[in-house]
Symmetry: C2
Subunit: 307 residues, 2 copies
């Protein structure tokens, strides 16, 4: 991210993201059992995938959305950890031989290559479980308003990860392999598979920070555009970058004859689409003023990234 | 259950369980998307496993524990659905080729035999996700006390399903296959794999019904004894009953050279152990009087069941 980031956002903003990332790493470390805790195999597997060097874009979206409505990072850290654990669980399960059958992820062998298929399935299950468990652990002193916001954020996350979100998108992805699907179906697939969780990060962060309805609607528009842009850029990168750059098998969409934004709209069309979506996303943030600067920066990083 | 039930509990109690089961089936039906909802494959897979004819012992434990402390079934129904979805998810994933590789469950082909491995993995993921999602959907009018109890029940469930509960038990089960393990390790394995979720049903039901600390401790003792008894009886049945009776592959513990209560304590020793655990469980309920009659009956059904 840093290399692309230098171009997309100011050094000051990049430094703020890095400071947030450090806090998220610490919180994730505290939220997961030690490798030596019984039963140690599964805890090694959890930590192997959770600390494999992701860019933590989802927690950053939580924090930046919270900041846009005046929230404090402490209040948002459990959601930051939960969304990142859920993202990791989805990668571990998607990489399984029965699914996308990937050997390489973020430049490292995938969980099932290292720990075996059974342990990779269980590691994904455990990360998903821990995500919700962590959010359920609310401080004893909380009043009804904070308890309610926590439950609402969990409900939002549950919907984003369910069969009309993350899981539904993966089902469609598997079922559309090798088929020519129309642009509308491709958009529905990716709104579910990628967009729903990214949107839950933005709306969930704002919700926990006490955003009003108007702010949630505007942030929802931002999230929707950015979520789609994320996948469009992913497809462009898969078609144009090498494995070393991506840290995963490159060109595999074409090899698997998957419908992508590049196969449907062409390379130039996909690039233009990403730029239009970024413009739409930034317009949705106009009313927030300088407090949304970190969120704007993440929008630019998502669209202008190189990996 | 009915055939064994006639011996273990009164017809009146059996009729009450059946009425509870009907309510749980309805609530589960409402809590899961329709088969025709997009994406339909996963919804068919969810419903195939969720409505494969389980005995619903876990929701019954939730309701009976709630009743023992004066709770109302309406308040407990989301937890009833959640624990049953989690139980089903664990069966679907345990049956996968990479895990126990089972073709038959409750007398029907397992999920991966019908829908394929990828869909079975995703169906399990979806049931786990929906369980927590459902619990997060709390009525708008709730006060701080009820919101707090809901979050506490979710935390309890999260711990029971995590790496020191359900998932940890399955890890140990896989890793102990073909090994002679000591009795203490066998007990730890089953307290995690089976006992933790059963205990969360009893304690979670009581917690949602507003039980005080003393009641929770006593119910915890009941749950702990019953949870262990459940697995001891499972091992006895696997060693003595046929596949037609069990609705799953019989004698496979011995075939897989798994350590069981029968292999460690012998058939008579295991039977005696189950009877002692039932006695211990019933003693823990003495202070509750007639309100715990449904819970006592479930204890007897668990130990005296034939399948």
């Amino acid at each position: 991210m840093s290399a692309a980031g230098t171009a997309a956002v100011s050094p000051e903003l990049e430094a703020r993201y890095e400071a947030w990332r450090v806090r998220v790493e610490q919180a994730l470390d505290q939220a997961l059992p030690a490798e030596t805790d019984w039963p140690s195999t599964i805890h090694r597997a959890l930590r192997y995938s959770q600390f494999a060097g992701g860019k933590r874009i989802r927690p950053l979206l939580v924090l930046a959305a919270g900041e846009a409505v005046g929230g404090h990072p402490d209040e948002l850290m459990p959601l930051c950890c939960a969304v990142e654990m859920i993202h990791t669980y989805s990668l571990v399960h998607d990489d399984l031989p029965a699914m996308d059958d990937d050997d390489l992820r973020r430049g490292k062998p995938t969980s099932h290559k290292v720990f075996g298929e059974a342990m990779a399935i269980l590691a994904g299950d455990a990360l998903l479980t821990r995500a919700f468990h962590l959010l359920a652990e609310a401080p004893r002193a909380w009043d009804a308003g904070r308890l309610r916001r926590r439950l609402d954020a969990m409900a939002l996350l549950g919907a984003a990860c369910g069969t009309t979100g993350l899981i539904g998108g993966q089902v469609e992805d598997l079922e559309s392999e090798g088929k020519a699907i129309p642009a509308s179906a491709l958009e529905r697939l990716h709104r579910a598979k990628t967009g729903a969780l990214l949107s839950a990060c933005v709306r969930g962060g704002a919700l926990l920070a006490g955003a009003d309805e108007a702010a949630l609607v505007a942030l929802g528009r931002f999230a929707s555009a950015i979520g789609l842009a994320f996948q469009v850029v992913d497809d462009v990168l898969d078609a144009t970058e090498g494995a070393a750059q991506l840290g995963k098998t490159a060109g595999k969409d074409a090899a698997a004859r998957k419908a992508t934004y590049v196969s449907v709209h062409g390379l130039d069309g996909a690039r233009r689409m990403a730029a239009d979506l970024l413009k739409e996303a930034l317009e949705a943030l106009e009313a927030f003023g300088p407090r949304a600067e970190a969120l704007r920066g993440l929008g630019r990083l998502i669209v202008e990234r190189r990996a």
